[in-house]
Symmetry: C2
Subunit: 142 residues, 2 copies
């Protein structure tokens, strides 16, 4: 919130700095949950006041960050819009409520000490994606 300067000091290497990318960067780094391109777009508008922005620029910035592995893109069950989350060093998983779509973060990755069993094939794992579905405590009563 306050130390906006500091956030921009953390600008990743190898990516050309532009005003638009800085905006996307700031929104993502400050976000507490994954955001869609349009949500990012809206937050930038709220922060910067009415500004002439092209949604395509958001998508292009996200693609650049994603290529560098700085952002993870995912499409949740039942949704048709992708969401993007800044990878603060380590990854995170969520439990997604099927009713209100709220995201509840898992305290830790349940896979840290699990070994995979790929039938007979040999496979080198580089990453994984896990989504838990169910009902949050507010919705489970209904």
């Amino acid at each position: 919130m306050e130390n906006i300067e500091n956030i921009l000091d953390m600008w990743p290497e190898g990516i050309k700095k532009t005003k638009q990318r800085e905006d996307v960067f700031r929104v993502l780094v400050e976000a507490k949950e994954p955001l869609s391109a349009i949500e990012i777009y809206n937050r930038i508008q709220q922060q910067n006041g009415q500004i002439n922005y092209a949604i395509s620029t958001i998508y292009r910035s996200l693609a650049v960050f994603e290529e560098k592995g700085l952002v993870e893109k995912s499409t949740l069950m039942g949704e048709d819009t992708a969401v993007y989350e800044w990878q603060h060093g380590k990854h995170k998983h969520y439990a997604i409520c099927l009713k209100c779509h709220k995201l509840v973060p898992l305290a830790k990755c349940p896979f840290e000490h699990v070994k995979l069993d790929t039938s007979d094939e040999d496979f080198t794992v580089t990453s994984h994606k896990l989504e838990i579905y169910g009902y949050c405590n507010k919705c489970k009563e209904e």
Copy 2:
């Protein structure tokens, strides 16, 4: 392959039988991996010869099966097309090669004996989705 009759005998209850739905059903039940709507469409054409089919019918059939929990729909990382898989009683996970996109099935769900840790929130889990990413033995050399 041979006992096509048998497959149709397994027709799920509560779903009206139509020629089109039977086709989708057969393709999905025989499939060894998740298929996209268009792949299903193509396989039906191959099996039935050139037939007048509407892709929208495929989507509508899939929606019906999915509602009943008979089919699982997912969108894999980097893809923009959803794939559908018949749930033969139990669910399955895959390791997905980032290079050739091949799917390697996991022998068993690594989640069976793992307990979740949702920070402080209470959450009732009904299902989960797991995707492993990496490189298959053919692609890992490069």
